[in-house]
Every structure is written in C-alpha cells, then in structure tokens.
C-alpha cells in the first residue's frame, strides 16, 4: 500500500491572508518611497557575521570562482552592517525589506527565517526615529487595529513599575528574589548574569503589559545591552536604544547609531570574549564595517522591524505561521 501523501505541502497561511500580507508590504514600501527614502538590497551572504552572543548565524559554504577550496559565508541576521557601509559611502536615507536568518529561534513568535524591514535616517536621533516608527506602524494598522495614545517608557521605569526593582542597580540576589516572589521558577541562570535576569523579568513580567491597545516605546536600555547604540552622553549607564511593543509583542529595535570605529571594535572584542566564555563559536567580525566607520558614518538613527509580527498583529493572528506562506515546519 502506498503511504498517504503528506498534507503539509499546503501553505501555513490561508491565501486571502497572503493577499492581505502583500497589500501590507506594498503599504510599507509606499511609505518610504513617498518620503524619498531609497530602497536598497544588500547581500544575505557575508564573509563576516554578527558577534552578538545572543544571535546565532546560520552558515554555508561557497565553492566556485574565487574560492576553489571553499569559503564560509554567513547568512545575515540583519542587514545592518552593509547598510551602514552604504550610509558611509553617502547613500542618504535608505530602507530594505529582506529575509534574515537566525539559528535556534522557532516558536509562536519566531521563525528561523523571517522578513525584516530596516531603515536608516541620517541626522535623526533615536527620538526622531521613534516618531517615524510610530507614524509608519499607525499608517499600516489604520482601519485594522485601533490604537490609543502612544506610551513612552524608559527601561528603568518599566522595571520599577512592574517588578519594583531598579534594573540599573539591582544585585544578583535581588533579581533571584524578585523572580521567586513573582512565582517564576527559572533554572540555570547564573546569579551574576544580570542581563539574563533582566531578560527573564522583561519577558515574564513586563512584556505582557507593554503595548496594550497602543504603541509602547521602551527606551534607554542598560549600557550592557547597547548592542550598536550610542551611550547617552549625560547618562552613560544607559544606551540610546529603543524597542517598540504592541499587544505584548516586540515589534522593532532601534538605535541612535554608534559611529565610533574604536568603540565598535571594543564591542566586537567584548562580544567575542563573551562568546568564548559561553562556549560559542568564534565569528569573524566585520572589518569592512569598521573601515567604513573609520571613514565616517553620518550621524544617524536606524531601526529594524519584524514584518511577519506586524502582519500578524494587523490581521489579528496568534502565530507567525498563520501569516507566512510556509513556516519552518513546511519549508
């Protein structure tokens, strides 16, 4: 007897959802074209990779002209580095809609391959960029999701309000006590891994309160989570980084971009040292990005927005798979 043919050839999203998704993508593009922002495409395969210890790059092997012994190439986790090289080369404001890849991430709100909208605004700081993010998201969700007045919340205030702890000064023991008091039984967290505890409380206690019926911007992240953001000149304990939440879902991450090549190199080195401590593979830092920063990155702010999540919220879906043609299980 022939085995029954698999039924998972079918899309994970209904076709009318894919039609609506296409319209939302058109709306995103039109927003930037109307504002004179240039659409660009940068390589998904790169000789360099992110050094961020919390991001895991997928890699592949290129064999062919110029690489007869084979060359490791990494699928980008975001198009940030080449887009900054374009900015340094004088591109002016740019945006990109592309697939990015992150190993190890799958679930209701994660797919190892997903669509990112990333854009950069020369002469903007993170506050001006937050305003534009709000305009874009409000425009896209118009007549779909009613939104109240936007909420602006510092990372510190969010923790004080929902956990009672100051995230910039709390001790390891305080983190653990707070988690226990809120009924969170967490295994395997190092008492000194402050950012691990912050992420635990953020995901379990704070995120569910963010963006309920309105956009919530969380900003002024701890300097240890600056990633590629500048530190605040008047308060170097925090970085000029923000995140956007809607309905408890993290939608976008943005920075007032770090332009200092020396500081960027130090952060790469610190990331690589941390990767080593965690037993993660070494990844090649982007020397071409450093050279571009050395040449001069115009003062700018940039942000990356998860398009699948935005479409999911726009259509009232509960899982990313409901708005993707084929989620990873069917890829």
């Amino acid at each position: 007897m022939q085995p029954a043919p698999p039924s998972d050839w079918r899309p994970s999203a209904p076709l009318d959802t894919l039609q609506q998704r296409a319209r939302l993508l058109q709306k995103l593009r039109a927003f930037f074209i109307d504002r004179g922002v240039l659409e660009v495409e940068t390589p998904q395969l790169s000789a360099a990779a992110t050094t961020d210890p919390q991001l895991h790059s997928l890699s592949t092997q290129y064999i062919g002209p110029g690489a007869h012994r084979g060359q490791a190439l990494y699928l980008h986790t975001s198009p940030e580095f080449p887009m900054k090289r374009l900015l340094a080369a004088g591109s002016g404001p740019i945006f990109q809609l592309c697939k990015v890849f992150r190993d190890g991430e799958a679930g209701r709100l994660h797919n190892p391959e997903f669509t990112l909208l990333e854009w950069y605004r020369p002469d903007y700081d993170h506050r001006q960029l937050m305003t534009e993010v709000a305009e874009l998201v409000t425009h896209v969700l118009e007549n779909r999701v009613p939104l109240g007045a936007t909420e602006w919340l510092t990372y510190e205030d969010a923790f004080l309000r929902h956990t009672g702890l100051n995230p910039l000064t709390a001790s390891g023991a305080q983190w653990a006590t707070c988690a226990r008091q809120h009924g969170i039984a967490a295994a395997g967290l190092d008492p000194d891994a402050w950012d691990g505890w912050r992420d635990l409380l953020l995901t379990h206690l704070i995120e569910p309160h963010l963006g309920l019926g309105r956009l919530t911007f969380l900003y002024d992240y701890p300097a240890s989570q600056a990633a590629l953001a500048r530190l605040r000149p008047d308060k170097p304990a925090v970085a000029e980084r923000f995140e956007l939440y809607l309905h408890g879902v993290e939608l976008a991450n943005g920075f007032h971009e770090l332009g200092d090549a020396g500081e960027q190199r130090r952060r790469f080195d610190a990331d690589l040292a941390r990767r080593k401590t965690l037993g993660l593979a070494w990844t090649p830092p982007d020397e071409r990005l450093l050279a571009a920063l050395d040449h001069g990155l115009p003062a700018c702010a940039g942000v990356a927005l998860g398009v699948d999540r935005l479409v999911m919220l726009a259509l009232g879906a509960q899982r990313l798979a409901e708005v993707m043609a084929f989620s990873i299980e069917r890829a």
Partner: protein
Amino acid sequence: MATYSTNEFKPGLKVMLDNDPGSIIENEFVKPGKGQAFNRVKIRNLRSGRVIERTFKSGDSIEAADVIDTEMQYLYSDGEFFHFMNPESFEQIPADAKAVGDTVKWLKEEVTCLVTLWNGVPLSVEPQHTVALKIVETDPGVRGDTSGGGGKPAKLETGAVVRVPLFIQNGEVIKVNTRTGEYVSRAKE
C-alpha cells in the same frame, strides 16, 4: 543518564523535575530580539497530577524520565496490589491503590488498560474510553419506557454506580463512558 535539550521539548515529552516524573503540556519559546532565549514550560507532575510552570534557558538540558505508556491486561487484586499483565511478554506487574486511583471502579478481570510505568513501576492506570459492565443491582425496569428520560441508579459488577435509562434491567451489560461516568448504550452481546 538520558537528557533532553530544550530543543527537544514538545507536549507529551517525559522529563524529571524535582525528583518526580513529569509530562510536558506546553512549551513556549520566548526571546527578546537581542537577549537571552528561554523556554517557558508547563509540566504535569505525573505523581501528584499538579501542573507547574518552569522556565529554562534555551539550550540547557534536563533529565529524561523513563516513563512509558503500555497496554496491559488487568488480572486480579490480592487485596493490596492490582496485578496487570503485558499481553505480549506475559510479564506481570503489581500496581498499588494510589496508581490505580479512581480507575478501580472500572476494573474488571481481563480488561485492557493503559498503564503508565516509571522505571518499570506503575504510576497510573487509565481505563479504556468505554467499558462494558454488567448491572448487578437496579430497580425493576419499566419495560415500555424507551424514552431514556429520567433514569435511575444502577450498580455495576465493579461497584461503580451510574445512571441508566428506566428500561434497563438488572443483569444487562451496558457500555459506560469512563471519562464522564455516563451510560452510553446497551452492550451488544
């Protein structure tokens, strides 16, 4: 010691937690874009039945529980233990009253049950969804009444009491839904 990584978590996976065997009910992957990934898990403790929540750092591993569900035939009770037999290997295993629990009221010799074994020892015993049992005590039936309305209590051969329609007679064999404890139909002999 067998272990499972968080990447293997899925509903139904049997794991050890606080020295007790558990079964994963729900597994959610959460991760701030630039932060630590976690698996938020709901696990049923297979000894107490309680559901607990636990969060693991993604990539960590936990001990696997040697828990298997196996169909076994109920043989007899010796007053202390209930004895079951694996119909293929003929191996016999005693289950205590705690493992049998409420299932005792559906246990009839030679019926097949789903026995959950932890390290070879019965943790729980589930009856089949419907069982056929003989009525040993009920009020005389009203022969003409097949409406099924009303009903009356009937004691079954295993001691369970269920409500049956008025037309059902003492000595008849009926099918009962073991999940709800409700009468389903007359059993066809």
